[in-house]
Amino acid sequence: MTNRAVPDAGTQIEIYRRMALIKANDERSRKVIMTGRLVMPYYSPRGQEVIPSAISVNLTDEDYVCTIYRGSHDQLAKGLPLKDLWAEVAGRTTGTCKGKGGPMHVTYPTKGIMVTTGIVGSTMPIANGLAWASQLRGDGRVTVANFGDGAANIGAFHESLNLASVWKLPVIFVCQNNEWGEHTAYDKTSNVKVADRAAAYGIPGERVDGNDPFAMYAAAREAIERARAGEGPTLIEAMTYRFHGHVFGDQDAYMDKERKARAMADDPVPRFRARLIADGVADEEQLAEIEAGIEAQIDEAVEFALASDFPGVEELKRDVFAEELN
């Protein structure tokens, strides 16, 4: 694969900004939970920052994304405003879903964030439908379906990739292989690479270093261009690592300590930061300013969220159907 697409300087900085945003937001989330200011099931995306950041710079607000409970990185990279996110995970009326969805169901169509789901494997069938809509309209949009390595073993994966292939849908299946599905290591659940399963559907499949912004950018860009050109779906297996336990509170004793230490030492966020500076793409000051801006925005979002109102019980009767229940 020579001559792969390379992000220009501005795009590199934008990828980094999104990564830094995800990392900072994750750290703040864990802190806010730890200090008891908020109670929510929290699935940290720490370690997986590169994937959605390098993908989303190739997308517009009109493109669609479906993601999972471990999805704040995908949402933020796609442009979800921090205030709307924080208010949602705090269960407030000002949240994206009025607090009714919560962290596992964040939805924000304005930025193309169409579905966040808690059911393993379920982004893929729905993503196909979004992509079918684009195909019918010829609007050139693409849909990105995110899922984990564990989800590559569930039936919906198979049905979805096959249908996308047969219908040549403009959809990109992004398997974020963080080596773990809850407490189970990926290599105990499958004897093959996820990317190699693409062949079972006659579609392109690529395993890529999901912690390398350049590799991830190139793979995503090529897949997205193919999709926009009407050449059908792609399966990308983005290799990464889950820095924390499955969910906040999980002590992750089952995770190999050494492997984890190595992954964390290789943290993709400071690594890319250092590279940007080394390559002369950005200087320390510029990045520090970006980071400071992010922190300020998060401060504001958290305070906004916690100061917002909780929904009233009348909301139990709303949004079940179009008409309110009586």
Binding site: W132, Q135, D319, V320
Partner: protein, 334 residues
């Protein structure tokens, strides 16, 4: 197929009515699309031909046969509906909804609520079922109670061509997911043809015959068993009111309660097994709302509590029959 002919036939069957309803909806709204196993014309428009002619008329893009992949079918319908399409998806038989329950229950039914109203899922899921063709244990179940127990999805089950047309048009119009249950063995029974653009509102029952002694509440094929029962009861001097529920969720409490308040006696008839079935909900509401006013306990007549048996005499005995309805009504009067 009825859809292509200009002159409306005096008679139509349910199969033709559903076909016409989808065709008319597709004609009037480009966002109506159809998907499912065998639904396009090279595949004969479905095993029974319900969607025959649609792909030829509206094109392959809007009417798509799929692989045997029910999760993918419902998922594709949901996804397209989130951005303005109105998909009509077929899950061939109701027992096959079991492989798509996640999509139906966790997603289609919940996305409006979980998104705080930002998205909604205006899909119709068509599915066939019903005993009578000796298909055995995995092809005939009526599972409507499961979906009625799920907030966020509506359930309809027409018993006539007119209602099938009118409910299908309403289901496609509806901004929320609708499960549309078709009784396979009664597809071909001709009856009064629906007029174009006729609507049957979702949530409105139909009083098929008025009576003063006992209210019989039924739907789908059970209407065909109940109609002769009403006649037989009349001969025996019992005046039965027959209500075709048409919509199971949300069911028409006003019509049912008004009728039973008048007659003082009620019976619910369905093909689904009795325990924890639709009859349980209706029976409970009748008892709650008309406490002390009923002249007899509400009677539930449902399928036997077993898998649908293959052997003909067993299959026949499985579901309520006219004679069972007559006997039960007489017992209520005793």
């Amino acid at each position: 197929m009825a859809t292509q002919t200009a002159a409306k036939p005096a008679k139509a069957n349910i199969l033709q009515a559903i076909n016409a309803a989808i065709a008319d909806a597709m004609e009037s709204d480009d966002n109506v699309v159809v998907l499912g196993e065998d639904v396009a014309d090279p595949e004969e428009g479905g095993v029974c031909g319900v969607t025959k002619g649609l792909s030829s008329r509206f094109g392959d893009a809007r009417v798509r046969s799929t692989p045997i992949s029910e999760q993918a079918i419902v998922g594709a319908a949901i996804g397209a509906s989130l951005v303005g399409f109105k998909p009509v998806a077929e899950i061939m038989l109701m027992n096959f909804t079991t492989v798509a329950m996640d999509m139906i229950v966790n997603h289609a039914a919940k996305l409006r609520f979980m998104s705080g109203g930002q998205t909604h899922v205006p899909i119709v899921i068509r599915t066939m079922t019903g005993t009578g063709f000796a298909s055995g244990g995995q092809h005939c179940d009526y599972l409507e109670a499961w979906f009625a127990h799920t907030a966020g999805i509506k359930v309809v089950a027409p018993s006539s061509p007119r209602d099938a047309y009118g409910l299908m048009r309403s289901a496609i119009d509806d901004p929320d997911p609708v499960l549309f249950i078709e009784n396979l063995p009664t597809y071909w029974t001709p009856a009064e043809a629906p007029e174009k653009d006729h609507r049957v509102p979702i949530g409105k029952a139909n009083v098929l015959s008025e009576g003063s002694d006992v209210t019989i509440i039924a739907y789908a094929r059970m209407i065909q068993e109940a109609m002769p029962a009403v006649a037989q009861l009349a001969e025996a001097g019992i005046s039965a009111e027959l209500i075709d529920l048409r919509t199971i969720a949300p069911w028409d409490r006003d019509t049912v309660l008004a009728s039973v308040a008048r007659t003082g006696r009620a019976m619910i008839v369905h093909e689904a097994v009795t325990p924890f079935g639709v009859g349980a909900e209706i029976g409970s509401v009748l008892n709650e709302e008309l406490f002390g006013k009923l002249k007899a306990p509400v009677k539930r007549l449902g399928g036997a509590f077993c898998a649908v048996p293959f052997s003909k005499p067993l299959e026949t005995a499985f579901a309520p029959q006219t004679a069972d309805i007559v006997d039960a009504a007489k017992a209520l009067m005793a």
